[in-house]
Symmetry: C2
Amino acid sequence: MGAFSRAAFLAVGSELLRTSRLDTNSLFVAAKLAACGVEMTEKRCVGDDAQAIAGAVSDLLTRADLVVVSGGLGPTADDVTREGVAAALQRKLHLDQELFALLQERYRRLGRSMPSIAARMAYLVEGAQVLPNPRGTAPGQWLEVGSRALVLLPGVPEELETIFALHVLPRIQGKPILVRTLKVAGRFESEVEQRVSDLYRRFGREKITILAGRGTVELVLYAEGPSELAAMEQAFAEVLGADIFGRDEATLPQVVLEALKSRGWMLATAESCTGGMVGSALTQVPGASEAYLGGVVAYANTVKVRLLGVPEEVLATHGAVSREVAEAMALGACRLGAQCGLAITGIAGPAGGTPEKPVGTVHVAVAIPGQLQHRRFLFGGSRQTIRELAANFALDLLRRVLKGAA
Amino acid sequence: MGAFSRAAFLAVGSELLRTSRLDTNSLFVAAKLAACGVEMTEKRCVGDDAQAIAGAVSDLLTRADLVVVSGGLGPTADDVTREGVAAALQRKLHLDQELFALLQERYRRLGRSMPSIAARMAYLVEGAQVLPNPRGTAPGQWLEVGSRALVLLPGVPEELETIFALHVLPRIQGKPILVRTLKVAGRFESEVEQRVSDLYRRFGREKITILAGRGTVELVLYAEGPSELAAMEQAFAEVLGADIFGRDEATLPQVVLEALKSRGWMLATAESCTGGMVGSALTQVPGASEAYLGGVVAYANTVKVRLLGVPEEVLATHGAVSREVAEAMALGACRLGAQCGLAITGIAGPAGGTPEKPVGTVHVAVAIPGQLQHRRFLFGGSRQTIRELAANFALDLLRRVLKGAA
């Protein structure tokens, strides 16, 4: 096949139209295609309905030169992707004897007799090439429709991903595109966008994607070769400097834990308004115990006093949401036997704000040997948003302090 | 408008076609529509491209009688949903003076002058009713197309959800279906499904949806009238009893905090493998401070000893993941000044398992005045899954103990 440029994705499954499941296969496929220079231009989701599948496939083939369909290839009566596609292409379905024998063999190896409905998985759309499925029973199918291609894959993610890597990617002879994700923390999306606006012009807006999280921002760079990628990466690093905390799969908790480990330091946390979110994020990283001791969820003032040694008069004079209390909490965390203490105290709302300390006011303090750093933030948004921003900006302040101490 | 039966959803945004973002607004909309008896039959996602939006809207209106579009209503040049929809319906866009004045007023209140691009948000598709946006700047639009309706909503979830609840739901005069969600904790989906299988037959499988979370299960009941709903609810309550922790919007942390408040008790937590997840979940509830003191993230053994008073010999004899240590942690948490202590210690993996204590082993202890309860769990799944299960099963054990103590 020739080079593809525009891909469309169709997820089949009535469960994907209800209230709790989302198709995630399209993310995997979009990433793999982007790396080949093929752009995903449209995604769809229809139920287990042959007519709806047929309509969607016909329509997508008018605009995309590569259509990937996931799901509906299993043995049950609900699995009607084969029928829908055959109808869309006005082709017949036929029982493939070789595939049928392979299915029988597979069941025999599992020590089970093949149920009669399983034979449905041996039906191919006329003209299909079989894409073997080493992780499961239902194979994929590759169909050529003029100069376009239509790929049918099972919906189980590990099966789809394996077949895609083994049998679909080699058939897509696209332009190889290199992808690099730069991860930024401690800045809002609008600040980052403003600072890199010259680079948008220099490299081309279509080569850069910006994605905002709560307290982190990702810049995805698409380059046509290693020298372009290196030039892009260097230019972004010059503009963003220490705001970039990592690349590709790196996460902020991981980077912070690595920085601690490289110094042989242990961290303890003292969280008030975030109530354990920073501890929870750090301990999600396997091996966190090498650099994280634990800490205190100091939600009530009595806990700040009893476990962290925050003086009662400091609480009375400055209030629980203050620089002084954040600093005392960070120092108190260190007394748990850690070289490094991170403290957060703030007003997450919706109640509790005052004109002097509105909802969204958050104080963060970081203590390391010989140094005590503080920052005050004013975040907007819901209680959940304010708490997530507080947790991520706190981790980022710690990262920056550790970097400076290197 | 008449009753709607088939809805379609279109998410607009080039970022939703890339490798890391999924539209989640459709889940919210599908849930709200299901409660009105309106079925979601198709979902789509296109980029910021007026022609693609126009094509999708035209096509969806041929099959669905309610089409909901999210995203692309902001002020920037990328936001072209208005243009796409106007093209699809062959209607004009016009500047709405009243809306323009409201936007100016909004910027004035924020102390900023209105940027000229913001005027784009004051354009309406001919015939549109404005759906005011109390959470943001861009309003929604409600359009009638013959007997069908087309709704345009901003893509920011909190804005979309608010406008949908305030202005879209009242316009959808579907078949009034009564919906009740029963929330279950402390059981796995398969256990719940087995126990209610007779009720599936009795009331009809299509009237019950089961949704599994990690450590919680929801049963959504759809009834045609109050007497049917009451009969269903009673039958499920008889079968599931104390496994049901709440209804509809209730969450496990909320229910636990309410049970504590009704006794005038304060809770303190002692978390090892969950690293703060329980504290984080509790403090997500506004007003948590009335019943939650805080606690200790006792990740390292030294923290268990120093802050919770777990005896070193108990750690040495039984190991950190043991009934004895969980109980000592719960009692240690109470000493922070709480009537109630909740402790979790376990092995979340991927490393750290032994034949006697495999990955997924979790001990939970609850202390209340005069009572110390313990349970050992063995959970399967990834590190994240094991941690979420541990946090939810621990909260549920606390709920059951508080219920028994009532």
